[in-house]
């Protein structure tokens, strides 16, 4: 059976990856038949109407799904398709209440024109009452017009489709998790929509264990928890999780605000390069937005100049147990951090568990930072959110079962990683972070 998905008009490169992830979560036999980024429509094949409902029930980027009754380049041709291919469906809707609507993408109609369009479907033998609110069935004429068709006075859409409404998505939850209404956020909190999409693409679901090593105010664990996963997180800055003295304005407070306390796994202060997490296959998913070093500095535990700071070491030896003691931190290489995240994920994800993280890069090809790789991790999909001169990418990997990992590749990778770590020995934030360097140069050539 063919279905038409209508997407909301944002985040084009994330749409199909989200739908494909949802098909895995719901265990559906999905085939993407037609999708073009310029269009909000996607045609998919699924075994049943129930499957179509399941596919969309967690989707954030889709708007609705419709049973597809026909596609054509002109309205007349569409009627021919509907008549020749769907007449077996007509008796089902003979007595239902119904309505027809017109959905014009990049086009416009007067009310009179819309009614005239709807009237062309009068051959359908529907005897039930027409109901404008809550009808049993809604039929939509979808029109896809060329870009700028209104000012250019273009007369006809490029394509037309007829669909019977099946279900809406979970898009409403974006408002529920809106950062503007969240008790506790910071300058770098990930917005609700993309946090939820990340959780979907990482396959967060009931009973699963998810971890965010750069948790901040908890956008990702909250999104994962919404879908039933249990969320853990850590941060090198304990204050970001504790908040400021007020129980409501803290990470656990955010879980409480959304009634997600049962999904709260735990939070702790830790540094990924000195993590207390055991190297054991534990997590179903790891999701994070590591600090890029622009708005938030990228730091790890340690001393920038240990030879000049013996007093700091002494202080640590004497004072570490004091509640006011703050361990010193040093700037760290962005690329080394990405490698560390991959190595950590390879060691701690279960088979087929997913790592999904955000990383920025310059749009200029010369300055683009390549997608990091690891022999145990297969890249599932790279989604891109483009800004003016830079983009951020959501990169999603799958932990391959060990039987599919080559041990020679693994050894070669480990050797390269050690060499790279030795090479990342700059000391200033700029030396260590090509993205930060480019950002403050407005991505002009060095």
């Amino acid at each position: 059976m063919d279905f038409l998905i209508k997407f909301a008009s944002e985040h084009e490169s994330f749409r199909v990856p989200e739908i494909e992830a949802l098909a895995i979560i719901e265990n559906l036999d999905l085939k993407i038949k037609e999708y073009d980024r310029e269009s909000p429509f996607c045609v998919v094949q699924l075994p049943s109407v129930d499957d179509a409902k399941k596919l969309l029930r967690r989707s954030v980027l889709a708007h609705s799904i419709h049973e597809l009754w026909g596609t054509a380049n002109t309205l007349d041709a569409l009627h021919e398709v509907v008549k020749s291919q769907t007449s077996h469906l007509w008796p089902k809707y003979k007595d239902s209440s119904f309505k027809f609507v017109v959905d014009s993408f990049q086009g416009a109609h007067s009310n009179k024109e819309r009614l005239a369009l709807i009237d062309t479907f009068s051959y359908l033998p529907f005897d039930g009452p027409i109901r404008m609110s809550n009808p049993d069935d809604t039929f939509t004429l979808f029109e896809f017009w060329p870009f700028n068709s209104v000012p250019l006075k273009i007369q006809h859409p490029d394509s037309v489709r007829l669909g019977r409404f099946v279900a809406t998505s979970a898009r409403d939850i974006v408002h529920r998790y809106d950062l503007k209404k969240r008790e506790y956020i910071s300058t770098t909190s990930m917005d609700a929509e993309l946090s939820l999409v990340t959780a979907n693409i990482a396959l967060a679901g009931p009973g699963k264990l998810f971890y965010d090593p750069f948790v901040g105010t908890g956008s990702f664990p909250i999104a994962c928890a919404h879908f039933g996963a249990i969320g853990w997180g850590s941060d090198i800055d304990g204050r970001s999780m504790r908040g400021e003295g007020n129980k409501k304005k803290s990470l656990p407070g955010n879980f409480a605000q959304y009634g997600l306390k049962p999904q709260l796994g735990g939070f702790f202060s830790a540094d990924l390069t000195n993590t207390p997490i055991r190297r054991r296959r534990t997590w179903d998913g790891i999701v994070c937005d590591p600090p890029y070093g622009v708005r938030e500095g990228l730091k790890v535990l340690g001393l920038k100049n240990p030879e000049n700071a013996t007093w700091l070491i002494e202080l640590g030896i004497n004072e570490w147990e004091s509640p006011d003691y703050v361990p010193p931190k040093k700037p760290y290489s962005f690329l080394a951090m990405l490698d560390d995240i991959l190595a950590f994920a390879a060691d701690t994800l279960v088979d087929n568990g997913r790592l999904a993280f955000w990383m920025p890069t310059a749009n200029d090809e010369e300055q683009e930072i390549p997608v990091p790789t690891h022999p145990c991790l297969e890249v599932v999909v790279v989604c891109v959110q483009v800004f003016n001169k830079w983009s951020r990418r959501l990169i999603t990997y799958r932990r391959l079962p060990d039987s599919q990992v080559s041990s020679t590749d693994l050894e070669a990778h480990e050797k390269k990683r050690l060499e790279a770590a030795a090479a990342h020995t700059g000391t200033t934030a700029d030396d260590l972070n090509p993205f930060r360097r480019g950002y403050f140069r407005k991505f002009e050539a060095e």
């Binding site: 009973g207 702790f268 830790a270 147990e321």
Partner: protein
């Protein structure tokens, strides 16, 4: 900090990672709180094979819980055993360390737990 989290954590000091005595960390002066959480059998069955059962037995007895069986149940056994499900749920998810310390038996370093959040940040001489 939930007892379940404790099962996933070891000493943050790199030199301790190879020592078997660095895991599990030992709670000291621990104040426990009990949260009432709805039982989630799927989660427990999912997490069961990822638990280090020996470490869990140690932690549970150190926190004063009745002894756990020597062998972990299988996922199939757990699915049909309501009592064990409830006991494990109570121990792993409902029991939290709100204040106290977690101590490494290898290096002796202790990690403070405050308001349920443990601090694993190391001073410079241990990094």
């Amino acid at each position: 900090m939930k007892v379940l989290s404790l099962n996933f954590l070891t000493c943050a000091v790199k030199a301790c990672k190879s020592s078997s005595s660095s895991y599990p960390l030992h709670p000291q002066d621990a104040e426990l709180v009990q949260d009432e959480i709805e039982l989630n059998p799927d989660m427990l069955i999912n997490v069961l094979p990822r638990l280090d059962w020996t470490a869990l037995r140690t932690t549970s007895s150190e926190l004063g819980f009745p002894p756990l069986p020597e062998q972990a149940p299988t996922q199939e056994e757990l699915r049909t055993d309501e009592k064990t499900l409830r006991d494990l749920h109570h121990l792993l998810l409902e029991t939290q360390i709100s204040e106290g310390k977690l101590v490494c038996a290898n290096c002796g370093h202790s990690y403070a737990v405050k308001e349920g959040i443990a601090n694993f940040l190391l001073p410079s001489h241990l990094v």
